[in-house]
Symmetry: C2
Subunit: 169 residues, 2 copies
């Protein structure tokens, strides 16, 4: 009888311990929404997490890479994000023909900041791993910047990037 009670207590103890360690954690400040890799720039796109990952995909799938530098609390980034995420043609072309990466921190590759590390800034990289510093926007002082009215320039530059370097040779 005592053995039986002890066994039950042991089982209950084990169940309780298992329950206690597998209890779901929520911060004191309240439940958070999971962070997205898109950060609002297109939830339907498949985003690379890091530059290394993006380069690997670009090479193995022979697709150009679009690298977008932005900051979540920068008003220019926010304004461009709205246009970028809601432009059907930009999103469709990126999904079908590009590898995409958005970053809120600089990488160690200085080739991704040909004229400095400002945001928002868009660089294209060829599958041969060459940064396409020749594909620029409309502003001489910030050559890789795009403003909200530059959707057509961006689309035209995406078409340029789709003509891969090795096919040009």
């Amino acid at each position: 009888m005592i053995r039986g009670v002890l066994s039950i207590l042991l089982v209950l103890g084990a169940v309780f311990t298992a329950f206690a360690t597998s209890k779901q954690y929520f911060p004191k400040s309240g439940k958070r929404s999971p962070q997205t890799l898109s950060r609002g720039w297109g939830d339907q796109l498949i985003w690379a997490q890091t530059y290394e990952e993006a380069l690997y995909w670009s090479r193995s799938r022979n697709k150009p890479l679009l690298v977008l530098f932005h900051l979540e609390d920068c008003p220019h980034s926010k304004a461009l994000k709205k246009v970028f995420a809601n432009n059907y043609e930009i999103q469709k072309t990126l999904d079908e023909d590009f590898i995409v990466l958005n970053l809120v921190y600089e990488t160690t590759d200085k080739h991704l900041a040909p004229d400095g590390p400002y945001v928002p800034r868009i660089l294209f990289v060829d599958p041969s791993m060459t940064v396409r510093a020749d594909i620029t926007g409309l502003y001489g002082n910030r050559m890789y910047a795009y403003e909200t009215q530059d959707e057509k320039t961006l689309l035209a530059n995406m078409q340029k990037a789709k003509k891969l370097l090795k096919q040009e040779l």
Copy 2:
């Protein structure tokens, strides 16, 4: 009158064009769920996206960094993920005292692979940017691997990592 009709047509045209370019894009294969930065390892944690970002946070907040390498289709990674994400103590400690980063690709920093690039693998980095190669798991051939039953070892190692190097000196 004709002018009026023309104006209306122009306005309608403009509205239609605006509508057409801002139409939301969904891939032919169907709507996708947005990717999460947690990749299932703890939706309540605030994950860094890149190693550069994680190092910056670690230094500026004086918190140790946990770097977790995994693969989404690796059964050992999946099993550990379940334990890791559901362990209240691990999640709470990481949220309060650590900077966290999970990666599915290697970085260019070879210090993060002291005995090779296997997964799953967990490395700690001190805010002084020193990789803590001295904080190891239980397996001699894969020193930074953890299995599902190693929750206590992981928690003990997290406590070691919390004793910052400069405080030891």
